[in-house]
């Protein structure tokens, strides 16, 4: 019974983490006595609607996953159900949250299609958006939710929220789950050869997500090679690459960082189209900067390229793959050298 308590307590902590109820109070409240805590716990849960839970998922999935130790929860809820579910069902205090917990538990037991999932979620009578919840469940339980090519709304939701997911996921949990989902989808597509536009867009994002690794790998490689400020160095390399059409010249900068060369080369290869698109403008810009005898213009050029490509729809997918730290550094460099925008005639408001 102790384990039941633990499981349910985890769930409650997650539920109420957005509320004003102090954690200690919750522990105190649900920690005494198996029967009492169940009833009282539900009574707390009643005060927290599912929207709170949903927000919790949206804002911190890794934490939610930690709180929802699903294996433990499953075991706990099975026991809880076997002992109390009949009571719960007949009780007017049975909340939608409790229903949702039971639903989550059942999701572990059997896989289901998106259509079935949607119908089950709709049946819960939650105030949350069914599409949104289904998409998240698909994301969290890729092995259990069988997504088909025709389930475009699920992809749509994931695509639209990709940035948000990326930005909230400093941990790799979401990315791993996401990529696992994606690889399932890729497999499906290969098998079905279905050209569904949203699906293709989704795959593009997925590929981009993979290519994120190219940028992150480059930064990691530089760090491993002992470069103190890897992001700054990467921007400088990019600036040199913009000015020079010769890759060897660029890579010669890495003479003392041999181990990082391959990573940087992949980084530059992935940015080749954006470099080519802006080379003409940026080279003439570089000449102007040089004529003013300014110091390190390459970091400025590299930063400008990152921001320009991030503002250009042609490179939307690539720009989504830029690590946030790199974009943020590029912004700082351009802000500190904003005269470059005037000299290069960048129609400034297009830079976000």
């Amino acid at each position: 019974m102790r384990r039941v308590t633990d499981a349910f307590r985890y769930a409650l902590i997650a539920y109420v983490s957005d509320s004003d109820v102090p954690m200690d109070a919750i522990y105190q409240y649900v920690g005494n006595g198996p029967v009492v805590h169940g009833a009282k716990g539900l009574s707390i849960a009643q005060r927290v609607d599912v929207d709170s839970l949903r927000q919790h998922f949206l804002t911190d999935i890794p934490l939610a996953k930690t709180c929802f130790d699903f294996d433990k929860l499953r075991e706990g809820v099975i026991r809880l159900r076997s002992e109390y579910v009949e009571t719960f069902k007949s009780s007017p205090t049975l909340s939608s949250v409790a229903k949702f917990v039971l639903f989550l538990e059942s999701l572990h037991g059997e896989g289901r299609t998106v259509a079935k999932l949607r119908s089950d979620v709709a049946g819960l009578g939650l105030s949350a958006s069914v599409d949104e919840l289904v998409a998240y469940l698909a994301l969290l339980f890729p092995a259990k939710v069988r997504i088909r090519c025709s389930d475009t709304d699920v992809y749509g939701y994931l695509i639209q929220n990709f940035d948000r997911l990326k930005s909230i996921s400093s941990h790799s949990d979401v990315a791993k789950v996401f990529l696992a989902t994606v690889s399932e989808l890729c497999k499906s597509i290969d098998e079905a050869v279905v050209e569904v536009v949203p699906m293709l867009r989704f795959l593009n994002v997925a590929k981009t997500r993979r290519s994120t690794n190219v940028f992150e790998v480059a930064i990691d490689a530089l760090r491993s090679a002992g470069v103190a400020d890897a992001e700054d160095f990467l921007l400088k390399v990019l600036g040199v690459a913009v000015e020079s059409t010769d890759m060897d010249t660029t890579l010669s900068m890495l003479a003392q960082y041999n181990d990082a060369k391959r990573a940087i080369q992949s980084f530059l290869d992935s940015l080749k189209p954006t470099i080519e698109a802006y080379r003409g403008v940026l080279v003439s810009c570089a000449e102007k900067l040089k004529s003013l005898s300014l110091g390190d213009i390459h970091t400025v050029l590299g930063s400008l390229l990152i921001l320009l490509s991030a503002s250009d729809q042609r490179f939307g997918e690539v720009s989504k793959a830029f690590p946030l730290g790199l974009v943020s550094r590029a912004k700082d460099v351009v802000k500190d050298n904003a005269y470059v925008l005037l000299l290069c005639r960048v129609f400034g408001s297009s830079l976000r």
């Binding site: 300014l294 351009v334 904003a338 925008l341 005037l342 960048v346 400034g348 830079l351 976000r352």
Partner: protein
């Protein structure tokens, strides 16, 4: 000639702050070439009007043309440029593609016309505060304007390097906007670049007040003259010598002064207009708060509210400019000239933009002070030129002596190769 001249650097900061630019110099110093570069030669809205006697406001905006026995209403180069500009930025607002300045109009050799008469009704529209309340094309010309929009799609698309279908998609949004507005306004990011040949520096002081107030006067040196600015700390002590100067300096360096508040408002005028007009179509609001920004080259991620206090304070990058401008106001008061507060608003705007653009790395604070004084404040002293001539006829030299003293003071403060000294020399010679 250096790749980036001081004239270009100064012009860019003036344009980014909302000013139009008047390039002044002797024939052959590169005014028209720089004007074309600044105006975005080859871009959709780019137009060059070579001013000549007989050019009128109507010719610039809209006029009736007779061909055989048919009379038709035609749009002039300014109206065409503005309409193509709206079309370009409407496209850019939904599909941001950086580095696509849509182009502006060049008014070449304005010295050959009575520019006050030619631009007369457009002057008010040039003020950032009035851009969305004054019509460049009124309601009765709307049909002609909308027809022109339709017929410009191809050329705009071609010059932007995109498909015409994509430009067509925004035409209807613009039509709804112009219908809602009841005419065609001047975009916040639109600028006028003018050039003027001068054979003697006194010519500047014969320009009308309305024109001089709305343009930053950029003096381009002949190749045999050089530009340099010094800063005498001894002379600096004299800058805030009278109460007017002190009062102006306090205004320019106080974040709470009305001048600074107005400057801040004008730099974000597009957003204010959207807030004021709740009935504005959503696509128009999005256009105005996005691409059509008064601070054209300053990116959206720069927080002006956070930057302004860094500039507007004693000891900042603009401190020398604030002191010099305050001094000129003090001088103006002594010689009976009221310069008004709109110039101070322009000074603050220019300083804020120079600060935000980190111009300190390429232009010294003394150079900035010299540029701001010579481009927007000193030309206003032209109103005393007739008095100087009248006094000279009467055999009096009191006023002339004061101006000469001011010129010598500026020389000892900034040096004889500064723009401010040269501009003041023109006033004495007038």
């Amino acid at each position: 000639m250096p790749l980036v001249s001081r004239a270009e650097l100064f012009s860019l900061i003036a344009l980014a702050s909302g000013k139009n630019v008047l390039l002044v110099g002797a024939p052959g110093v590169g005014k028209t070439r720089l004007a074309k570069q600044l105006a975005g030669e080859g871009m959709p809205a780019y137009e060059v009007v070579t001013c000549r006697e007989g050019l009128t406001y109507d010719r610039l905006v809209a006029f009736y043309s007779a061909k055989g026995d048919k009379v038709s209403l035609e749009l002039g180069p300014l109206a065409r440029s503005v309409l193509r500009y709206w079309l370009s930025i409407a496209w850019l607002s939904i599909a941001p593609k950086p580095l696509s300045l849509p182009g502006w109009i060049v008014l070449d050799e304005v010295n050959r016309v009575n520019i006050d008469v030619v631009l007369g009704e457009i002057f008010t529209a040039m003020d950032m505060e009035h851009r969305m309340s004054v019509k460049i094309l009124s309601e009765d010309l709307l049909k002609t304007a909308l027809d022109y929009l339709d017929s410009s799609v191809e050329v705009v698309a071609k010059r932007l390097g995109i498909s015409a279908d994509r430009v067509k998609a925004v035409v209807n949004d613009l039509k709804r906007f112009f219908d809602w507005f009841g005419g065609v306004p001047l975009p916040f990011s639109y600028r006028f670049i003018a050039t003027m040949n001068i054979y003697d520096r006194a010519q500047l002081y014969r320009l009308g007040h309305a024109f001089v107030r709305r343009f930053a006067y950029i003096y381009m040196l002949p190749p045999y003259e050089s530009y340099s600015v010094s800063w005498s700390t001894d002379q600096e002590k004299e800058l805030l010598r009278n109460e007017v100067s002190k009062g102006i300096y306090a205004m320019l360096t106080s974040i709470d002064s009305e001048v600074v508040k107005q400057a801040s408002r004008e730099l974000k005028m597009n957003k204010h207009v959207v807030e004021m007009h709740k009935d504005m179509p959503a696509e128009v609001a999005s256009l105005l708060t996005g691409v059509d920004n008064p601070t054209i080259y300053i990116p959206g991620f720069v927080d002006l509210d956070a930057e302004i206090p860094e500039v507007v304070k004693p000891g900042s990058y603009c401190d020398k400019a604030f002191k010099l401008v305050s001094h000129i106001y003090g001088f103006a008061e002594e010689v009976g000239v009221e310069l008004g507060t709109s110039l101070l608003v322009d000074v603050v705007k220019m300083c804020v933009v120079a600060g935000v653009a980190r111009y300190g790395k390429i232009v010294s604070d003394a150079e900035l002070a010299d540029f701001i004084a010579s481009s927007i404040v000193l030309p206003q002293l032209g109103v005393i030129a007739p008095r100087l001539r009248a006094e000279a006829l009467l055999g009096s030299e009191d006023l002339l002596k004061r101006v000469r003293d001011m010129r010598e003071y500026v020389k000892s403060l900034l040096g004889g190769k500064s723009l401010s000294y040269r501009v003041l020399r023109g006033l004495v010679e007038s």
